[in-house]
Subunit: 251 residues, 2 copies
């Protein structure tokens, strides 16, 4: 039986990523985590805190992939416009969610501060909550769109709460091997091997390390037997190019 | 005189970013560098090594922004399809560029290896070269699209070669200040300050550090006087919330 691939996209919302002030690390964590769950991230975008841009990207990505995960823009300040944008994308009103509001009201504050904090309780009408084990307000889900915080520790907690609750397909496994060869020295053989195993993705990633250059060859696919067979073919190609395979890994 | 903003987008091409195997650091470098040159990165995308995806993203981004910078997929192996995709996006033939071919042929190699290396000489017909001071094959430019390597050190060398050769607009400057306050404690005042200075972007980025939580307030805009005035207003807001402004920076 061949399971259908389940796909996802990631939308990073935030001027601070596009200005270069902040290095995004959320995409990498989401891609790795979803990969382990049998969900393949196929595309990612980074957009600014601009309503039309966010709404357009959300609508494009949610229709194209099984899931969309967004990060950023769900705090209490004026630049946190993600919830509003998701509501617009789904053409739904933004309403105060009683559970989030109760959670926020449990911690007393002066009126003006409470009013700002309650902004975080306003989510699209049909949204369901996404747990936040760090203790702050939860994220939320509308249909196939998951809306998470931008702070990595908070985002990671929200994502972890979804473990086991999403559709999943076959898990993509990998094999990798390092060759201390220039890519060109092995390129022709790699092309032939890729042709022989059309269902396994063979990537070649050159690197420079100290005085040595080399290439990491990474095989990714869902069929363990094909992965092993391709790994053997790649190892033979390295040997026949006069080198030895190093650092073989299975993932 | 108010200069027109010059905008850019970044397209990161590579399965290894979407699988989570590699943490992208190119977007951050490009955003920071272009920012210093007076070019504002407005959007970024990450796509897989799939021709239709790359061609579609290139055509969308090159028409929407003044510049598009791509990274990845220009090596000699079968999975390096960026040059072909750029040619398709511009409906141009891919041809062997005599200068790159000469550079590659200067380093002798057996026929099969030379053939693989010469793949890197094939670029779209109207392409102009982008220098690569690391000594490898150059990148290239077609119209407003700059095609660069994925290896960060090589990409950085290619980008550096463009210094002074691109259109530029006003440089976005910044002011930042840290408040050891929760975002909600200052949110209402920040919203008012943002309304008072519509041309300066005021971002609020909460953080947790050791036992303290706080908020970085970042102002970005092209008018130094407005930035300074907004910074004063933000400092006053922090003081009136019972805290002191810390770590003031000008960029």
């Amino acid at each position: 039986m061949s399971l259908q691939a389940i796909t996802a996209s990631v939308l990073v919302i935030g001027n601070e990523i596009l200005s270069g002030r902040t290095q995004d690390i959320n995409l990498n964590h989401i891609a790795t985590t979803l990969g382990e769950w049998g969900i393949q991230v196929r595309e990612a975008r980074v957009v600014a805190d601009i309503e039309e841009e966010i709404v357009a990207a959300v609508n494009e990505l949610r229709s194209r992939y099984d899931y969309l995960f967004t990060t950023g823009g769900i705090g209490p300040t004026h630049d946190d416009i993600t919830a509003e944008c998701i509501a617009k994308a789904f053409d739904e009103p933004l309403v105060e969610h009683p559970i989030i509001a109760k959670l926020i009201r449990a911690r007393p504050a002066p009126d003006d501060i409470m009013e700002s904090r309650l902004r975080m309780a306003r989510i699209p009408q049909s949204a369901k909550l996404v747990d936040n084990a760090t203790g702050g307000p939860p994220g939320f889900r509308v249909d196939n769109v998951f809306v998470m915080a931008g702070i990595p520790a908070v985002m990671q907690a929200m994502l972890a709460s979804l473990d086991g609750k999403l559709k999943s397909g076959p898990v993509v496994r990998s094999r990798s091997v390092t060759a201390y060869l220039g890519e060109s020295q092995i390129a022709a053989k790699l092309g032939e091997i890729q042709d022989d195993f059309p269902d396994v993705d063979l990537g070649s990633y050159p690197f420079f390390q100290k005085d040595r250059y080399g290439t990491s060859l990474v095989m990714r696919g869902t069929d363990e037997a094909q992965l092993d067979a391709m790994l053997e073919a790649v190892k033979e190609a390295i040997v026949s190019s006069g080198e030895n395979p190093h650092d073989i890994q299975r993932g």
